[in-house]
């Protein structure tokens, strides 16, 4: 977590365009079944996917398509019924509880549709929670928390509780929180679904900026078609399977050819 690492990272942004891009998240035949017997719901039916280091990838699909489940799987928030999830070529299933906590704390940042801020804490305190778990001293955590709030444009509202903030502001606090331990991966589960058009745009701008400036890999599940233009790749999920993966360029071409197909 030093300036050195950050510089190092920024220099890696070039990787995104290189042909042999390193894979940071890889899923192999991941299945997730809720319930048992006749009542069983197949949320994921064997997903093989790759996320490249440093890219901004969107996961799109209708409600119930399994994209939230997929999101939880690659975030190590839930365990798959079958298949493997490799984060930086490390099988998540092999990690101990402590290593999983380390992964969630330091390597992955999470942004939720419902913001999931701790409601009795101020914006700054919410941002510093993961740093407390990472063993950062309270003074350093506060200083860094203020920097992050500055980054999302909420520095002057640091002492407000979630209830005193708008949805967009809460989501910005959540983004600041997700970034506080300088994660490699940012997982955003429908970050704009509860927000109006303008506020959603602000959030997306922040995400794009973080991706570009910090070189953080971003996986964003969404309905929001604005992301088509903003992200590097798009993955369509339908009925628990990956329907299609396309890069931004391919989309543009495709849109140009087929017209209003989507």
């Amino acid at each position: 977590m030093t300036a050195e690492t950050q510089t190092h990272r920024t220099s890696d942004i070039a990787d995104r365009t290189s042909p042999d891009r390193p894979v940071i998240i890889r899923t192999l035949g991941v299945k997730k079944i809720y319930g048992e017997g006749d009542a069983a719901t197949h949320a994921l039916r064997g997903v093989d996917a790759e996320v490249y280091r440093g890219e901004f990838i969107s996961v799109m699909g209708p409600s119930g398509s399994g994209k939230s489940t997929f999101f939880n799987m690659i975030g190590a928030l839930d365990s798959p019924s079958a298949g493997r999830i490799l984060i930086d070529e490390v099988d998540v299933a092999q990690l101990s509880a402590s290593e999983l906590a380390f992964l969630r704390c330091q390597k992955i940042g999470y942004i939720f549709q419902q913001y999931n801020l701790i409601r009795y804490m101020t914006a700054l305190e919410n941002v510093t929670v993961p740093m407390a778990f990472a063993g950062v001293s309270p003074e350093d955590a506060r200083r860094r928390g203020m920097e992050l709030l500055e980054l999302v444009g909420l520095a002057e509202r640091w002492s407000h509780r979630p209830i005193e903030m708008s949805g967009g502001q809460q989501q910005r606090v959540a983004i600041a929180r997700s970034m506080c331990n300088l994660p490699m991966i940012l997982l955003a589960d429908e970050p704009t679904a509860n927000l109006d058009f303008k506020t959603g745009q602000d959030i997306l701008d922040i995400l794009v900026r973080i991706n570009a400036e910090k070189g953080v890999t971003i996986v964003c599940s969404t309905h929001d078609h604005r992301l088509l233009a903003l992200c590097d790749r798009i993955m369509w999920v339908r009925d628990g399977e990956i329907e299609r993966v396309a890069s931004k360029d391919q989309i543009k071409i495709k849109l140009g050819k087929v017209g209003g197909d989507h």
């Binding site: 975030g75 704390c105 929670v129 990472a134």
Partner: protein
């Protein structure tokens, strides 16, 4: 680029966990206060039940002891006038710790016969206690409703005894004292001898009384104590006649005798129309309804007694100890003593009823123990519910902090610490509240006599400590279960629990 090192998450120190837990509590101050209040109420309830039970049993037993002490001079004077009656002698002989056994031994003057009588008396007590243990209907059928000496004297008759043993065998009961043969022997041989010894004891006591009258002059025993004379001489005369005075002093007996005399005189004086009229005016009741008790209960201090002293001296009646009437001070003293006895009587309870029977735990009555048990249950349910609620309503929060890198251990510690802190705070408040309530209720019920329970202070402290520990342990244990479950859920499972 940072590679993923499969590192272990930093384990937070205890201090850090406590700080975070306290932090969290101060944020959720209101919710914490609710939980603390529930805990405090539960503990207060328990403390109140225990402390009030201890106070009331303390007041009652101390009041009974005081009354017992007050009664001793009266008893002595009565026994110096008249010998004990048969049932009393039989009763006292069967009591191992009776002080009168020594007196009876002296009056009998025959140690061999005395030992035999004591052993028979004890057998009779065993038999009577066995009878008391039978169902009421059986007992009535066996004894024809008789009990004590009357029953024993009846059973000396062969016919009555044969009938009893026949009935006992018909009921198929297991008899004490070695079966029907033993019971038969007891009543056929021992009891007639025993009753003879009892009569000799009584005769011996009469002889002793006659001797005392010769030395101290005829008339009432109270008169011996009121007469001029040396305390030591009087005491040695009484004890020489075989009476045990124990810790009682001659002065105590004299004070009692004087009080009895003065009260009796006051009764007489109230028959005088002048005094009676003054009392009726003072009490604002018809003259016919004036009683000594009412007159005295209206006298709280020396000032209140002035009217009565005046009325008495105006009547010109000769006072009990010479002179005219009674002094203001004496009247106030009489009033105070009468009131004290009445109040002790009122709070002493009977101490014999089944409800009042002392149980094993802290010497509390069984009824109180039931209530304590029930309040303990209320305490358990209340605390468990409060803790369960405070964990389950925060599942989303738990899921969120797990996403942010909290270890299971931290989640559990956070809740257990929180519960423990709430347990301590709630416990302290509860103990204070419970003690206040119990003290207040004691004051309402017993007034200033609540001080009689001072001897129970140690037990009250123990009970408070116990209730505090119960609250703390309950709170902590009740939080461990749900937080253990919550901590072990995968983050997304916890979030779904909502």
């Amino acid at each position: 680029m940072k590679p993923i090192e499969a590192e272990n998450q930093v384990a937070l120190g205890m201090g850090r966990c406590v700080r975070l837990a306290i932090n969290g509590m101060s944020y959720r101050l209101f919710r914490s206060l609710v939980t603390i209040s529930i805990l405090a109420l539960a503990v207060a309830f328990l403390v109140h039940m225990l402390a009030y039970g201890l106070i009331s049993s303390g007041v009652e037993s101390t009041a009974r002891e005081r009354l017992e002490v007050d009664r001793r001079p009266a008893e002595l004077l009565a026994r110096l006038n008249t010998a004990d009656i048969r049932p009393m002698v039989i009763q006292e002989l069967s009591q191992e710790d009776s002080e009168r056994r020594t007196e009876y031994r002296t009056w009998l003057g025959d140690d061999g016969a005395f030992e035999g009588a004591v052993s028979t008396a004890e057998d009779l007590r065993v038999f009577e206690e066995w009878l008391d243990g039978l169902p009421a209907a059986d007992r009535a059928a066996l004894t024809g409703g008789q009990s004590g000496p009357a029953l024993f004297e009846g059973l000396v008759q062969d016919e009555a005894r044969a009938r009893l043993i026949e009935r006992l065998e018909a009921l198929g009961l297991v008899l004490p004292l070695g079966g029907s043969a033993g019971v038969d022997a007891l009543f056929a041989q021992q009891v007639p001898v025993f009753l003879g010894v009892v009569d000799r004891v009584i005769a011996g006591q009469w002889t002793a009384i006659a001797g005392l009258r010769e030395v101290l002059g005829g008339g009432d025993a109270a008169g011996w104590f009121l007469a001029e004379g040396e305390d030591a001489a009087l005491r040695s005369a009484v004890e020489g006649a075989g009476y045990g005075m124990g810790s009682m002093t001659v002065a105590e007996v004299r004070a009692f005798a004087a009080r009895t005399r003065d009260l009796a005189w006051l009764d007489e004086a109230l028959r005088d129309s002048g005094v009676r009229g003054a009392a009726a005016r003072r009490l604002r009741v018809p003259a016919a309804e004036v009683t000594r008790a009412e007159v005295l209960s209206g006298i709280g201090g020396v000032g209140d007694a002035a009217w009565l002293a005046e009325a008495l001296s105006a009547s010109g009646l000769e006072g009990p100890a010479g002179g005219v009437g009674l002094s203001v001070e004496r009247l106030a003293e009489l009033a105070q003593l009468t009131t004290r006895s009445a109040r002790l009587e009122a709070v002493s309870g009977d101490g014999t009823g089944e409800d009042g029977a002392a149980g094993g735990f802290m010497g509390l009555p069984v009824r109180t123990l039931w209530l304590v048990g029930l309040s303990f249950l209320v305490c358990v349910v209340g605390v468990a519910n409060a803790m369960l609620m405070s964990v389950t309503e925060r599942f989303t929060e738990i899921a969120t902090i797990k996403c942010l890198g909290a270890m299971d251990r931290f989640v559990m510690l956070m809740f257990v610490f929180e519960a423990a802190i709430q347990g301590v705070v709630g416990g302290v408040i509860g103990v204070v509240l419970g003690l206040l309530l119990a003290g207040l209720r004691g004051l309402v019920d017993y007034g200033s006599l609540v001080g009689l329970a001072w001897g129970q202070a140690g037990l009250v402290v123990v009970a408070s400590g116990l209730a505090f520990v119960v609250g703390l342990v309950l709170a902590t244990v009740a939080a461990v279960g749900p937080s253990f479950v919550a901590a072990r859920l995968a983050p997304m499972e916890a979030m779904r629990v909502e």
